[in-house]
């Protein structure tokens, strides 16, 4: 096992315990910059860890980034580990990131759905949902990206527990989601929610549950264009961008619609590589290129937020 975050193998996929160890190492190595907040527990009792990158102050505006909400999308927590290390390496060296962290905090939840992630490593590589049993059904789990209180229960999710897009019995029924909701509401100063999925190479903004345009659509659209242009500058990876309902499909109860409706203007979902050659089993040698190009897009968004504080 890696003894330090320098030894951590960023070019490979890791089991949950290795990711948790990585988080603890990063905190221990960078005590003045990184701390770990346990915002709750998963259904099976695993901690829901958020890494907080902060240079001080109290209740600073914050940018939320999450990876690993759909457990089979392994590229997302793998990229999350790379992002975490990148932040500590670049702070104090990269002027743009330093300026962001001098004013704002970054909150990174690397594995939103740890039970599902563990299940993909031990029982079913293609598992997507949480692992809470559904009363009256032999089918397990809820799609955590249909469980949010934003158009919950409307078209764009399923009421059938056996479906991959089962929304759950009520909004925020899943502890993995409720914990984030409670944390964000208590925080009260989150300015961006960047929720990272895979695959299909898209950058999406609200809404997913309705075809009504978001009131900040113009700004979100322009910023998305800038972000994907920066992303493509590294390897030429082509992204599509636009509102979720227009670009991908109707999806009710999703993370960024909820965030946007809470007044968090900069709410985006990424769909990382690839175009479909590998789907959810993207080879490990693509982790670092994926993380590197995605980081450029994240930086474009974070710099814009920093320059346009609201």
């Amino acid at each position: 096992a890696a003894k330090t975050t320098d030894d951590f193998d960023y070019a490979n996929y890791h089991v949950l315990d290795e990711i948790y160890s990585f988080q603890d190492m990063l905190v221990a190595e960078n005590p003045t910059l990184v701390s770990k907040i346990v915002i709750g527990q998963s259904y099976e009792g695993r901690p829901l860890n958020v890494l907080k990158f902060s240079t001080g102050g109290t209740n600073r505006p914050a940018i939320w980034i999450d990876t690993g909400i759909h457990s089979r999308e392994w590229i997302t927590p793998a990229s999350g580990a790379w992002f975490a290390k990148k932040i500590v390496l670049d702070y104090g060296h990269n002027p743009a990131l330093t300026a962001i962290l001098d004013k704002m905090d970054i909150l990174l939840e690397m594995v939103v759905n740890p039970d599902g992630y563990h299940f993909t490593h031990t029982s079913n590589r293609m598992w997507r949902k949480t692992r809470k049993p559904n009363p009256g059904s032999s089918c397990v789990g809820v799609d955590p990206n249909r469980n949010w209180d934003a158009g919950f229960g409307t078209a764009g999710s399923s009421g059938n527990p056996c479906d991959e897009t089962y929304r759950g019995p009520t909004a925020h029924s899943e502890s993995e989601i409720k914990s984030i909701v409670d944390f964000m509401k208590a925080h009260g100063n989150i300015k961006a929610v960047l929720s990272i999925h895979s695959y299909s190479q898209m950058l999406l903004y609200p809404y997913g549950y309705t075809s009504t345009s978001a009131k900040d659509q113009k700004e979100l659209h322009e910023l998305a264009k800038k972000a994907i242009t920066d992303l493509a500058s590294l390897y030429g990876t082509a992204y599509r961008y636009g509102s979720m309902i227009n670009i991908i499909y109707q999806a009710s109860g999703n993370t960024i619609d909820w965030a946007y409706n809470q007044g968090i203007k900069y709410s985006y979902t990424f769909e990382l590589r690839d175009t479909g050659r590998y789907g959810f089993i993207l080879p490990a040698n693509q982790i670092i290129p994926t993380a590197k190009e995605t980081w450029l897009a994240l930086m474009a968004i974070m710099e814009h937020i920093n320059a346009n504080t609201y």
């Binding site: 029982s123 590589r125 056996c162 991908i248 479909g276 089993i281 080879p283």
Partner: protein, 93 residues
């Protein structure tokens, strides 16, 4: 432990709105136990579906009978998963 021996991932292309409806219908056929990796959204975007081995013949016949084009994106999913697992073990070792 669930395995995916013989499962394939198909990439399905709709050439018009009629074919889009055809593949949307396909994705909703519960008995086939399909796992939609990327849903049918518009004509420009292909659908990716994991098809269990036992449903392969039915799905391919359904598509071919309706002149819907598809390619095999992943020929044997379990083979790729095994490869992934070996790679992780090597790295861990």
């Amino acid at each position: 432990k669930k395995t995916f021996v013989g499962d394939q991932v198909l990439r399905v292309f709709a050439k018009d709105e009629v074919q889009l409806t055809v593949i949307q219908d396909l994705s909703e056929m519960k008995q086939l136990q399909l796992d939609v990796w990327r849903g049918p959204t518009d004509v420009a975007t292909p659908m990716d579906i994991r098809v269990p081995f036992h449903s392969l013949m039915s799905v391919k016949a359904y598509l071919e009978a309706r002149d819907v084009q598809y390619t095999i994106m992943i020929k044997d999913l379990q083979a790729d998963i095994d490869k992934e697992e070996r790679q992780m073990q090597r790295s861990s070792y």
